[in-house]
Structure formats: structure tokens, C-alpha cells
């Protein structure tokens, strides 16, 4: 009998279109307020990249009825708060003592309904500079920090919304216009494009009453059209990028099934059995037995329009990326030919079950229960998907994983990026084309 692992909740939609999800967990006297807007860098266009993320910064600077930094009153109430933007969505959250729930709802609703009157050119310009610093710190000044930028640009054509990273191009950020803020807010920041989850020490009915009280009178907007885009690779693309690093690293990226689509869970399992942990096939060969690599990892980056599957390995001193690539290909081919063993499948499913259980431990913050409910609601239209999500892993078979490897990890349609120390371009795989990112 499989363990029952559930995330019980109630969903209602306010007349203005705002989805409200409530989950009770009375163990600690805190409530998580978690608000998603279904907008991310995928809603941007070429030349205007980085806007969704910059906008997120502006949401903390004040709104019409509280015209000051959002951290002060919320910290004063004992809240933890943050926000984040990715390609597909923007989220904002507070974890507050039960005594401060109304404060958090007041503030979240004020910036949903009344942001623009408080925004000044000066605040906009300061946050633009803060974001440029964020970009320097997390991308430009970080070893291998430009890899994802190069890979995304090669995986997706220039007009595809995954062609650029959420942080945006530095030139685009510098060129942003204050006037663009208004249109962006009106298009994406309204109840019909948002989802509110409340999780924690609160009764379900009271939670809905409060949600209605604070968000009920915000004018509805028009739900934006979903973004659609296609991408495929005609061949293997080999690239090389020089960076301030001591050791070369190889990245291999493939297009893979979109989040929750058929094959997405299999790709996730493939990542684990290929390259996560000492038991994984590639760790065993590359790091443990042959000692050719310092590390190897794999990850299925599940996203709304399409995903990508990424393998990465750092060469041990004196070892070549060419040899590492050959062993990786051998490992992938092994899975294509024979699929995983029963033992590997059992292990993968056991890990998935445990991780779903661990995910039930916190009500708020990134990855907490409120965040998960919103993810299921926004991306599936079904906050009840938690149980079905786990079922996807339980249902996977050696055959379905093998099929996924065969279908999604072809050698002739992928991007292979070598990152090499400056001045050491010959350390890249043969035939790699020099790529420029900035």
C-alpha cells in the first residue's frame, strides 16, 4: 500500500476573477500569504528583456496608500517576505504571525490595486541600478555564470520568449523606460491574472472572508493571452565560451517535455539516475571510477511552454572535455538501449515519495505548501494536482523511462557548450563555434 501523501485545500474564485486557495495547518501560529501573477520573462519581447523582473523590484517600493518601502511595516510585524520572477510567473510571499495576517493582505492588495500612483521615476532608476548590480553579482562576476545565457540563446530562436534569461540583457535594462511600467502593470497585475494562496494557522471560512475583504473590490482585468512558441533544433550545435575559470566544464542541453506533459516526470527520473548522487550512472563512471570529472549533474528544467534537460560536468585537472563527452554519450546510450534497472526505478520512486513528504513541512516561502498550491493552480488550473503529480512518478516504468531517453536525448539535436579558461579555446570539443554573450 503506497503511503497517502496529500495537500488538502479549498479553492474559490472571487467575482473579479482572483483564485483563492486555502490550506489549514494549525501547528505553528503563522500564516503564509502567497500571491502569484501569471507573468514572467516569457511575456517580454526582444529588446525589452528583463522588464518583468525589474517590475518585481518596484512592487516593494510602495503603493498608493502605503507610500514607502514594503519591508518596514512587514518586518515590524515579524514577517518574512520576498518575491521572485522566472520565465513563467512572478511570486510574492509573506510568512506572518497570525496576528499580522490582515496587515499582509492589506499590503498585497494595495500593490495589486493601487501601485502606480506611488511609483516615481527616481524609484524606478534606483531599482534599475540595483538590478544591474544583481546581474553583475549573479551572472557576470560568477564563474560559469553566463552558461545558461549562452545555452538559452542557442536552444531557442531569437523571437522565442525563452531565448533570453529572466534577468535580461544589460543593454535592455539600461534602456528601459519609466513609461513602460504603466502598461505592464495594467496588462498583467490584476485579479484575473493572479492566484492567492493562504496556508497555515487559520480557519478556511475566515481565510476566504479576509481574501474577499481585501481583494474583492479590486477591478478585474482581462486575462492575457497565453504565450505560444515553437522551438526545435535541426542538428547538434557546438559552442565554446571563454570565462575566468580554472577548469573547463561541459554542458549538454536538449529540448524536453513541458512541465507536467507526458515524459516530464520520466525526464526528472532520468536526471537522477544519470547524474545525481554517487549512485548515479555518470557520477559512478566519471567521478568515482575514472576520476575524469570533479562533478556531474543533470536537471530537467520544467517550464510552461517547453522544458530543457541539462547535463553538466566539470573536468578534473588534466582531463579533456572530449573524453568526458564520450563517456556521457556512452551512459546516455546505455539507457536508450536497455533502460533503467528495476533497482534504479525503485530507488527513484522512493526518493520521489520522500521528497513529496518533505514538501509538506513548511507552509510558506519558496517551495512551501502555499507556493505549491499556486504552482498547480496557475500551471495546471488544478490546485488538487499534488497527488496526481506524485502518481506520475509512481506510474513510471523502466520502459517509459527508456522511451523518454530515446525520444528526448538524441545526439543529433542538442546544444553542447564548452566553457574553457580564457585563452584556452582548444580545450573545447572539436568543431565548437565561439559564442558571444554579454
Amino acid at each position: 500500500m503506497p503511503t497517502v501523501i496529500e495537500l488538502p485545500h479549498v479553492k474559490r474564485t472571487l467575482p473579479n476573477g482572483l483564485d483563492v486557495l486555502v490550506h489549514e495547518d494549525r501547528r505553528v501560529p503563522i500564516v503564509a500569504v502567497n500571491l502569484w501573477y501569471h507573468v514572467g520573462s516569457k511575456n517580454e519581447r526582444t529588446g525589452r528583456t528583463g522588464f518583468a523582473h525589474l517590475f518585481e523590484h518596484l512592487m516593494f517600493e510602495g503603493s498608493e496608500h502605503y507610500n514607502g518601502g514594503y519591508f518596514t511595516p512587514l518586518q515590524q510585524a515579524g514577517a518574512l517576505l520576498n518575491g521572485s520572477t522566472n520565465t513563467d510567473r512572478t511570486n510574492y510571499w509573506e510568512v506572518v504571525p497570525t496576528s499580522a495576517l490582515e496587515l499582509a493582505l492589506w499590503m498585497e492588495s494595495d500593490r495589486m490595486g493601487y501601485l502606480l500612483p506611488a511609483l516615481t521615476r527616481e524609484r524606478f532608476e534606483t531599482q534599475r541600478d540595483v538590478v544591474l548590480n544583481e546581474r553583475r553579482q549573479n551572472y557576470e562576476n560568477r564563474p560559469y555564470g553566463m552558461a545558461l545565457m549562452a545555452l538559452s540563446a542557442a536552444l531557442y530562436p531569437p523571437q522565442h520568449p525563452y531565448h533570453w534569461l529572466t534577468i535580461g540583457a544589460a543593454d535592455d535594462i539600461r534602456a528601459m523606460e519609466f513609461e513602460d511600467v504603466r502598461a505592464f502593470f495594467r496588462t498583467y497585475y490584476h485579479p484575473a491574472n493572479a492566484s492567492l494562496a493562504l496556508a497555515g494557522d487559520i480557519g478556511t471560512e475566515q481565510a476566504f472572508e479576509l481574501a474577499e475583504k481585501y481583494f474583492g473590490d479590486i477591478a478585474p482585468g482581462t486575462k492575457p493571452q497565453p504565450v505560444e512558441a515553437e522551438a526545435s533544433l535541426p542538428r547538434e550545435i557546438r559552442l565554446v565560451l571563454e570565462d575566468s575559470v580554472e577548469l573547463p566544464r561541459l554542458y549538454i542541453a536538449w529540448h524536453s517535455p513541458a512541465m507536467f506533459a507526458d515524459g516530464d516526470a520520466e525526464a526528472d527520473l532520468l536526471a537522477d539516475l544519470l547524474a545525481n548522487g554517487k549512485t548515479s550512472r555518470l557520477y559512478r563512471t566519471l567521478v568515482y571510477e575514472k576520476r575524469m570529472a570533479l562533478d556531474v549533474s543533470a536537471y530537467q528544467h520544467s517550464r510552461e511552454i517547453s522544458s530543457f534537460f541539462l547535463l553538466a560536468a566539470t573536468a578534473a585537472p588534466g582531463h579533456s572535455l572530449t573524453d568526458i563527452a564520450a563517456l556521457i554519450d556512452e551512459g546516455v546510450q546505455g539507457l536508450v538501449d536497455e533502460g533503467p534497472t528495476a533497482h534504479e526505478m525503485e530507488r527513484g520512486v522512493a526518493q520521489a515519495e520522500a521528497h513529496f513528504m518533505y514538501r509538506l513541512q513548511t507552509v510558506g516561502g519558496f517551495g512551501g505548501k502555499s507556493d505549491q498550491l499556486n504552482a498547480y493552480n496557475v500551471f495546471r488550473g488544478d490546485p488538487d494536482f499534488f497527488g496526481s503529480d506524485l502518481e506520475r512518478y509512481r506510474r513510471a516504468t523502466p520502459q517509459s523511462v527508456r522511451n523518454a531517453a530515446r525520444r528526448y536525448l538524441p545526439f543529433d539535436r542538442r546544444v553542447v557548450l564548452s566553457i574553457v579558461p580564457r585563452g584556452k579555446e582548444p580545450l573545447a570539443l572539436a568543431g565548437s563555434e565561439r559564442v558571444v554573450v554579454s
Binding site: 515579524g78 496576528s99 553579482q137 562576476n141 570533479l294 578534473a316 525503485e346
Partner: protein, 456 residues
């Protein structure tokens, strides 16, 4: 329904009542101290084994030994190879983690409650009888040497390493847990074996078990798995903790050159306080005002007012011996010198010329105390917090006392501790960044000669 009153923010009610976890102490026959905490809810259990002896136990010349020994714990035991151990952990869905601190090493294993017995037994086997085989040792040491090479690329790691060396020129606290290339090369498997024999003994260890089980069941898990652990008396004493000193080094301004860096990684600070200082609570409040939270003087100055950085923070690195007070940030290269000057000015301000205001006091105290219960949601949070109590010999009533103690701090006390424990004239300012682009403005800071340190 009546609309919301948007003319003012809603009142925040009185803090909700919270029952902090009750800790029960036990001692097994072999001397192992055990603390159990019932944590109902999600059927998960966490074990934290805290072994006295962290990087501060590394002898001169063997820096990195404690960490290497800790790393060898999951490299095989009995008939299990390193791969088998990893496989066994994965089949329990376990999360396993090792943290080598200044004074102790923490091994944490979290698993589903139904795997509690298997998890405890596996952890016990790994910790008490690791295989310590030559081949595994050679591989792990080589990985660490290679990792050291990689750390040279990482500005925060480069800064951390150089800063510690400047702070503690002659004490084992003055190195990163991973050690140095030279010291790692000189460490042998025999050293690891003796270190393990001397350090991994029940008398030196505390096991914290928190989970969705009763105290009796949690204790039984510990007893069944660890009762058979034997290990001699204490073979050697750990290094004494350093006393506060006028920082022995003479450098107040130093740079690790990194040509073409997009930003300068900064560390500013000096040795300051021990964890057992009676001024712990006032120091927490003082730090929150200065740079310990988003709305704090240094972050607001450097990020929101000047837009020099994505963020800046201050803190105390609490240790049994005297630990540092530090500021850490990463700033746009052109802003390097000005960011240092601004930071030192903020420190000076809080020491007297611009004491904490009533508003700052209330914000700092509220943010430290009102959300405090959220630190007790998961078994891991609880077990790690209790392990901290054990490490610093704090009472079981610590959690209940925390809020009243912090709320009792006065603004005068904040000024006093800022004056006593912070001192810009003793501060070391370290830059990891572009030397050519910054050295002229750095020289103009009046902090003395710029010491150029070897590149990573």
C-alpha cells in the same frame, strides 16, 4: 461587504501564543548524550549528530583534516562501499548533510518516520565504523584539492579565505574547513584514522532526534542504533579558543587582485565577541539595526540610497572562542572605496554620533521576536536549533527566554555594545576585485597602506 479602510494599515494584534518544543535529555550507557523532541505532523524524523571538533581542531599544518575525516563518513562502512552507502541513503529517501563548523561537526540525516530505524542504524554504522580505505581517501582528497582550485574562481570564497587569515593570523580558526593545498597534500590516511579514533567518541558527541514520534520511541531509535558505540576516553584536548586581541596582523586594507572583475567582493570587520557573551541579546538587536536585515542602515545606504549593490549585510560569526563581526557585500567596481567609507561611517554612527532611534529599536526587536515561532516548523529546523543549544551549552529554556530577553534590550545598551564590540579603527577592509581600477581611490581612504595579497 464594507470596503477596506485604506487610510491606515491594519493594527497588528498581540503575539500569538506558541508552545516551544520540549527537550528531553538522556545519556546512554556509553556516555552519548541524547536529546529528543516530539514533532508531530508530517511523518518525518531528523537525526543530528554533533561531534565536538570542527575546523578549530585542525593542528597547524593539517588544516582541512577535520573536514576530510567528516567527508569520509559516507565513503563506506562494513561491507558497504561508498556507492552502496549512497544507494542505501537514496532508498530511504534520506537527506544527508555534513557541516564542519569552527567548534563542532554536525551530521544530519532526515528520513521518513517509517524508515527511522533503518536511518538511525545506517547513520550509526557510517559514523562509528567508517571503512577509511586507502583508495577512497585518495579519491576524496584529490576531489578536495580540485575543489580548492575551483574556489579560486569564486569571489565570495576567495574573500572568505583571505579574510579569515587576516583575522586569525595564528589560530586554527583562521582557515576554511577545506584547508589549503599544502596542508591537504600533507594529510595522510593515518591522520584521518587517528583523528576519527580521538574525536568520534560517544563522550564528545550529542545526538539530537526530532520527529513525529514519542520521546520514548525517539530514544529507542537512538539507543538501538548507538548503544554499541564504544570509544575510549578523551585522547586529546581541543585547541583553546582565542581570546580577544588587538588583531595581531597589521593590515587594515588589503586586496586580492582579480583583473577585470565586474564587482568588488568586500569583507570588513574584526574579532569581536564569543557566543557566551552576556551581551548576546543587545548584540543581536544592534546588528539588526546596523545591517542584519533588509531595513538596516548599511543595506539601505548601499543598496537603496546609492544603488552600489544588490545587497549588503552584517553579522557575527558565533563561535565558542572569539568570533568576528563582519560586513559582507559585493559592489560595483567603481563604488568600491566609497562603499567602504560609507560602511565605516555607519559603524561609527551607531557607536555614538547617531544612536539607535526608538523606531529602529522597535523594528529590530519586533523583527527578531515576532516571527520567532516560524523557526520551528520542520524537524530539521528543530533538531539543528537544539544542536546549537548543545554546542554552546545553553539551557533547555533558551527558546522561551529568547523573546523576553531581546525585548528587554534598551537603546542605551545598543550604543554601549556598539561602542564595546565594534571598532572601525581596528577593522580590516578586504577587497577582492580589480586592483588597477580601485587602488587609487582605496589609497585615499586613509586606512593605511594597501596590502596586496597573492591571487587566491
Amino acid at each position: 461587504m464594507a470596503g477596506v479602510d485604506r487610510t491606515r494599515l491594519p493594527e497588528v494584534g498581540p503575539d500569538p501564543h506558541f508552545r516551544f518544543p520540549q527537550i528531553v535529555r538522556h545519556t546512554l550507557a556509553n556516555g552519548l548524550k541524547v536529546r529528543t523532541i516530539e514533532h508531530p505532523g508530517v511523518p518525518v524524523v531528523t537525526f543530528v549528530m554533533e561531534v565536538e571538533g570542527g575546523l578549530g581542531a585542525d593542528a597547524a599544518g593539517s588544516e582541512g583534516l577535520a573536514s576530510l575525516a567528516a567527508d569520509m563518513v559516507d565513503e563506506g562502512t562494513g561491507s558497504l562501499s561508498a556507492i552502496d552507502v549512497s544507494d542505501a541513503l537514496a532508498r530511504l529517501g534520506a537527506e544527508y548533510d555534513v557541516e564542519v563548523g569552527a567548534d563542532a561537526t554536525m551530521f544530519t540525516l532526515t528520513t521518513l518516520a517509517r524508515f527511522g530505524e533503518r536511518g538511525a542504524r545506517l547513520l550509526s554504522q557510517m559514523l562509528t565504523s567508517p571503512s577509511l580505505r586507502t583508495n577512497d581517501f585518495a579519491r576524496v582528497r584529490q576531489l578536495r584539492l580540485d575543489r580548492l582550485k575551483q574556489l579560486k574562481d569564486l569571489p565570495p570564497a576567495v574573500a572568505e579565505r583571505a579574510f579569515l587569515r587576516l583575522l586569525y593570523p595564528a589560530h586554527p580558526y583562521g582557515h576554511l574547513a577545506i584547508g589549503t593545498e599544502e596542508s591537504l597534500r600533507s594529510v595522510s590516511l593515518d591522520d584521518v584514522v587517528s583523528f576519527h579514533r580521538a574525536t568520534f567518541v560517544p563522550h564528545r558527541a550529542t545526538l539530537v532526534v526530532a520527529g513525529a514520534l514519542s520521546h520514548a520511541e525517539l530514544l529507542r531509535l537512538a539507543d538501538d542504533a548507538f548503544a554499541g558505540w564504544t570509544g575510549g576516553e578523551l585522547l586529546h584536548d581541543l585547541q583553546g579558543a582565542p581570546e580577544r586581541s588587538a588583531d595581531a596582523g597589521s593590515a587594515h586594507l588589503a586586496i586580492v587582485p582579480r583583473e577585470g572583475a565586474a564587482q568588488s567582493e568586500l569583507r570588513i570587520g574584526h574579532l569581536s565577541a564569543r557566543r557566551d557573551t552576556p551581551d548576546y541579546a543587545p548584540l543581536l538587536v544592534m546588528n539588526a539595526i546596523l545591517g542584519g536585515q533588509f531595513v538596516s542602515r548599511i543595506n539601505m545606504k548601499l543598496r537603496e540610497e546609492k544603488a552600489f549593490t544588490y545587497g549588503a549585510r552584517t553579522g557575527f560569526d558565533w563561535r565558542r572562542g572569539v568570533g568576528p563581526f563582519f560586513v559582507q557585500t559585493s559592489v560595483h567596481t567603481a563604488a568600491t572605496a566609497e562603499a567602504i567609507a560609507d560602511t565605516l561611517a555607519e559603524i561609527s554612527g551607531l557607536r555614538g554620533s547617531r544612536p539607535a532611534t526608538a523606531q529602529e529599536m522597535s523594528l529590530a526587536q519586533a523583527s527578531l521576536t515576532r516571527g520567532y515561532p516560524r523557526n520551528f516548523e520542520t524537524t530539521q529546523q528543530v533538531a539543528r536549533s537544539v544542536a546549537q543549544l548543545a554546542l554552546f551549552d545553553l539551557p533547555d529554556t533558551y527558546f522561551e527566554q529568547f523573546v523576553p530577553k531581546v525585548n528587554a534590550v534598551t537603546a542605551d545598551e545598543v550604543t554601549r555594545v556598539a561602542h564595546t564590540y565594534l571598532d572601525p579603527s581596528r577593522a580590516i577592509a578586504l577587497v577582492v576585485g580589480d586592483r588597477l581600477a580601485t587602488e587609487q581611490s582605496l589609497a585615499a581612504l586613509g586606512l593605511g597602506e594597501l596590502h596586496v595579497l597573492p591571487p587566491a
